[in-house]
């Protein structure tokens, strides 16, 4: 049988923890990894008589994200209760948003392999409270920890616009970069700050007819690898199942799968979407939210240039490689520090090299970001100018960078104090060149007359001059003088 032609169709439901200090409806502090049931109060324990009060920061973080995802922000939104019984949900309803989410109809641009971008449409984004955690390690019993219950959770739903595991991975990474840029989430996958639920199926073409396979929803993925692999696995599984059974998408035959990371396969959880009846209705304990133009404007003012736009600008305006630009825009601190330095008039490529090769390494060692190394954009710009002008060598520039980070100070003073200023005085260098040429007649001969050995010989002679200068002769000037003398 000939291989079937097919298209992969994936939509995503994403839950993002917001980086507020306190929970969504009570004053308990958010904390990860603390002793169970120590970040709880009567409100988030769902005790009788308690009432929720909305966290303003959570709402503003959500709106900011909605704006970054090019969504329309609703001028009126409200809170609804979603009812289902589960031990990690103390009130047995979740406060969420049903028919009036705060934002809708946006898109996110993801990088594609050819260096371009693709728009994935966002259907809606709404705010809700997270549940606690059920832990199944007690034999015949389960344990419930409600520290997480009430954490503000942004739910983002995309249209089924992704057509490969790579695109889904790219969206996940791009979203992580965006929320980190905005400062609305730490987006630490290992801490469960971001959870992904892809809906996957295939459109298979056979004999000119298109068949759609049943949709699989893979629950609760919390690593980029798991996202990509589970989708790849589902593609193969669905293709196989279609060949075997010919089963196609019918109303409601969506199945729920989990991802078994040990076996690297999806595992069926529920055949048919159980007859959930969430009985949504407006929460009478909370009042609606009106977002007027003034408030929206205030939040808009906090919006920054998005990482993918910055990345494109860096390649276009500064001629950086796409790779370098992506490294610089991986986090907002680096990107803005780079931006600020270049604005001082420094050469972008030189700044990029200093930051990516030395700055990020240092920051990483110190567990901080490049803007926190104690170096001002002004001083970094000065250093870049010195390196470009040939006042210091590339190696010396690295040493000066390290010294600036260790003890602050301006690069010229450091260079002078450490004797790292390159000699650019032509007369002084010419003497050195003459001496080397006189001492290495064989190499001079090769350079002048043997095309096969000329390049190597010139290199050797250059090296000798630099060595004689103890590394301080400006290579550009050495090279100029050397060429003059060898061709004369």
């Amino acid at each position: 049988m000939a291989e079937l032609e097919y298209k992969i169709i994936v939509g995503l439901e994403i839950h993002v923890h917001l980086a507020t200090r306190t929970k969504m409806f009570c004053g308990c502090e958010l904390a990860y990894g603390d002793m169970a049931n120590t970040h709880v109060c009567p409100v988030c324990l769902g005790m009788p008589g308690t009432l929720p009060v909305m966290n303003k920061q959570a709402l503003e973080f959500s709106i900011l994200t909605g704006l970054a995802l090019n969504c329309q922000i609703a001028s009126f939104t409200k809170w609804d209760r979603k009812s289902y019984y589960y031990p990690d949900l103390p009130k047995n309803y979740q406060i969420s948003q049903y028919d009036l989410p705060f934002s809708e109809h946006g898109y996110i641009e993801i990088p594609t392999e050819d260096g371009g971008t693709k728009k994935i449409r966002i259907l809606r984004a709404h705010l809700e409270e997270d549940a606690g955690k059920n832990i199944h390690t007690l034999g015949n019993f389960s344990a419930v920890d409600l520290n997480r219950a009430g954490t503000p959770l942004l739910e983002i739903v995309t249209e089924p616009d992704m057509n490969s595991p790579d695109e889904v991975g790219a969206l996940a990474r791009e979203l992580q970069r965006i929320v980190r840029f905005l400062g609305v989430s730490e987006a630490d996958m290992q801490k469960g700050h971001m959870r992904f639920e892809p809906n996957v199926n295939l459109h298979i073409t056979r004999n000119g007819e298109v068949f759609k396979t049943p949709i699989s929803e893979v629950k609760n993925l919390n690593s980029f690898r798991a996202i990509e692999r589970s989708i790849a696995y589902e593609v193969a599984r669905q293709l196989h199942e279609f060949k075997e059974t010919g089963k196609t998408l019918q109303m409601g035959n969506k199945s729920t799968y989990g991802w078994d990371d040990d076996k690297q396969m999806t595992v069926l959880q529920r055949e048919k979407e159980e007859a959930h009846d969430y009985r949504y209705f407006p929460d009478p304990d909370l009042v609606p939210v009106e977002i007027d133009d003034a408030w929206l404007g205030e939040i808009k003012a906090r919006l920054c240039e998005l990482p993918i736009q910055m990345q494109q600008r860096f390649t276009k305006d500064y001629g950086l490689s796409d790779y370098d630009a992506s490294v610089l825009t991986a986090d907002r601190a680096t990107a803005e520090f780079f931006n600020a330095t270049v604005k001082q008039g420094a050469d972008a490529k030189r700044v990029c090299n200093l930051l990516t090769q030395t700055g990020l390494k240092l920051a990483n060692e110190k567990g901080t970001t490049v803007d926190q190394l104690g170096i001002t954009p002004e001083n970094l710009a000065k250093l870049a100018q010195m390196a470009n002008a040939g006042d210091v060598s590339a190696t010396a520039a690295t040493a000066i960078f390290e010294e600036m980070a260790a003890a602050a100070g301006n690069p010229m003073q450091i260079a002078e104090a450490k004797n790292l200023i390159q000699k650019s005085d032509a007369g002084e260098i010419e003497a050195l060149v003459d001496a080397v040429l006189a001492e290495n007649t064989e190499a001079v001969q090769d350079a002048k007359t043997n095309p096969k050995k000329a390049k190597k010989a010139i290199g050797f002679l250059m090296g000798q001059v630099i060595q004689k200068s103890k590394g301080r002769a400006n290579p550009k000037i050495v090279s100029q003088l050397m060429n003059q003398k060898l061709t004369s």
Binding site: P42, L45, P48, G49, T50, P52, Y85, R279
Partner: protein, 484 residues
């Protein structure tokens, strides 16, 4: 027994000691509580200790709060860090709240002494207190009869002078109707006037805490204490929007040019004795120069339907948390976690609570939401506009509180719909969120008290109380006491 105001005035000047007042009330309780059954829990030792401290303070000339040393009771659906907060339910029989309700903090700050927590229909669902899962309360005027409900314990306690004054909660008449049945004053404030924080919710968009007292003055005094904004309740109204006046200050000043609206077609549904008492009350106001106008409330008849959808829908969700997982009763017969829910709830909830949870769940379930819940919300809007129009024409509305006086225990328990229909006069007030008061206005041929309901515009409690006080000054119904 003195009223709250009388007692606090005596205590404040050292004429009476709080300790003596507390002892006296507990002596009275020891004599009569076994008959009346008003309380779920009593706190004699704690009360005496607090009274002692108040007496010391006063003796030392130190300042005290406006309710200093006065024995007050609260309905047992308000959370306290002392004792249990049961809501009259087996499911919370042993629940000890780790926090105080807003009104408990307010009472404490006013130096009132909370002597006990009163019986109620389980989770405030009912009009007779017969639905309590924990005990029976009778009407002090006739112990074969119900005290009304759901704040039946609070009303009976005030009527039998087992406390000076009490707090209840009113979702569809639960303060006004028992006040009427027991011959005391009961006020449901405007929705948003008193914080619901710490009041165990029944119907969140309808619930409101209010006083049950011996007279209108005491209601004003207690409202002074409990009214006001609380940032822990998002539905509590900011004082910038509706300032809290001193309700006592102008209480004795009659409302000039008072215009009263009545709804004649509604009154016809009440017993003859109730209609007569209403007419007598209107005559009192006429003699004071008030003008009576007759109006129509075209959507009033739909109030019961709308109420029993909205209240039970909210209740079905509010009561979902009672599941035997984090607190409260857990069935010993549960084999898996789902049975922890379904068996605990089945074993511990009473019939009326189950019925309302079922009704509310049905109204919200897929396929029925639009026809019942959404429809009810729209009708609620129409009912509110009826009130808005009424208050454009008149200062207040007057009507009965209940079509009958207190009925016999067990008389209506088999027919829940008949019980619901008796809420006709009180329910619309909650749907509209407006304030309403019940004041004693006569007795029927069986010597059972009758209440007059006065309703006014949102946040006009000061005027409402002044209107009520005008009647009280001309009559002595509020001074009558049951023979116990």
């Amino acid at each position: 027994m003195d009223t709250v105001k009388q007692l606090r005035d005596k205590i404040a000047v050292g004429q009476t000691k709080s300790t003596d007042a507390v002892k006296a009330v507990f002596d009275h309780i020891e004599k009569h509580e076994s008959t009346i059954g008003a309380y779920i829990s009593l706190y004699k030792e704690q009360a005496l200790e607090q009274a002692g401290k108040i007496d010391e303070k006063i003796a030392a000339g130190r300042p005290v709060g406006p309710l200093a040393g006065v024995p007050i009771a609260i309905k047992d659906n308000m959370c306290t860090t002392f004792g249990a907060t049961t809501c009259g339910s087996k499911i919370l029989e042993n629940f000890h709240a780790p926090y105080n309700a807003h009104i408990v903090e307010k009472l404490n700050a006013a130096n009132a002494i909370i002597i006990g927590k009163c019986n109620l229909d389980e989770f405030a669902m009912g009009s007779s207190t017969e639905n309590s899962g924990l005990k029976k309360t009778v009407n002090p005027w006739d112990t074969d009869r119900v005290p009304g409900g759901s704040s039946g314990g609070s009303a009976a306690a005030v009527a039998a002078r087992l406390c000076c004054g009490a707090l209840g909660s009113d979702t569809g008449g639960s303060i006004r109707q028992p006040a009427s049945f027991c011959g005391v004053v009961g006020l449901k404030p405007t929705y948003g006037r008193v914080s619901r924080y710490g009041l165990v919710a029944y119907g969140s968009s309808l619930d409101q805490i209010g006083p049950l007292t011996q007279d209108v003055t005491d209601t004003a005094l207690l409202l002074n204490t409990i009214a006001g904004h609380d940032q822990r309740d998002s539905t509590s109204v900011p004082e910038t929007m509706a300032p809290v006046p001193d309700y006592l200050e102008q209480l004795e000043t009659p409302v000039k040019g008072l215009k009263i609206a009545t709804v004649p077609h509604l009154n016809k549904g009440a017993d003859a004795s109730v209609q007569k008492a209403l007419q007598d009350a209107l005559e009192v106001y006429k003699s004071l120069g008030a003008e009576i106008i007759e109006i129509d409330m075209p959507h009033f008849d739909y109030a019961i339907s709308a109420y029993y959808v909205i209240a039970t829908a909210e209740a079905s969700s509010n009561l979902a948390r009672f599941d035997g997982v984090h607190y409260g009763y857990r069935s010993q017969n549960a084999n898996d976690y789902i049975e922890v829910y379904s068996k605990s709830r089945d074993e511990a909830f009473g019939q009326e609570v189950k019925r309302r949870i079922m009704l509310g769940t049905y109204a919200l379930s897929s396929g029925y939401y639009d026809a019942y819940y959404l429809k009810a919300l729209k009708v609620r809007n129409l009912i509110r506009s009826d009130f808005t129009k009424a208050f454009e024409q008149a200062d207040c509305l007057m009507m009965p509180v209940s079509p009958t006086t207190a009925f016999k225990i067990g008389e209506k328990t088999d027919d829940p719909l008949q019980m619901y229909l008796a809420d006709i006069y009180t329910i619309a007030v909650n749907l509209a969120g407006v304030p309403g008061i019940s004041i004693p206005c006569g007795f029927d041929e069986k010597n059972l008290p009758i209440g007059l309901q006065i309703i006014s515009a949102p946040f006009s409690e000061d005027k409402l109380l002044r209107i009520a006080r005008m009647h009280e000054k001309q009559t002595d119904w509020h001074t009558k006491k049951p023979n116990i």
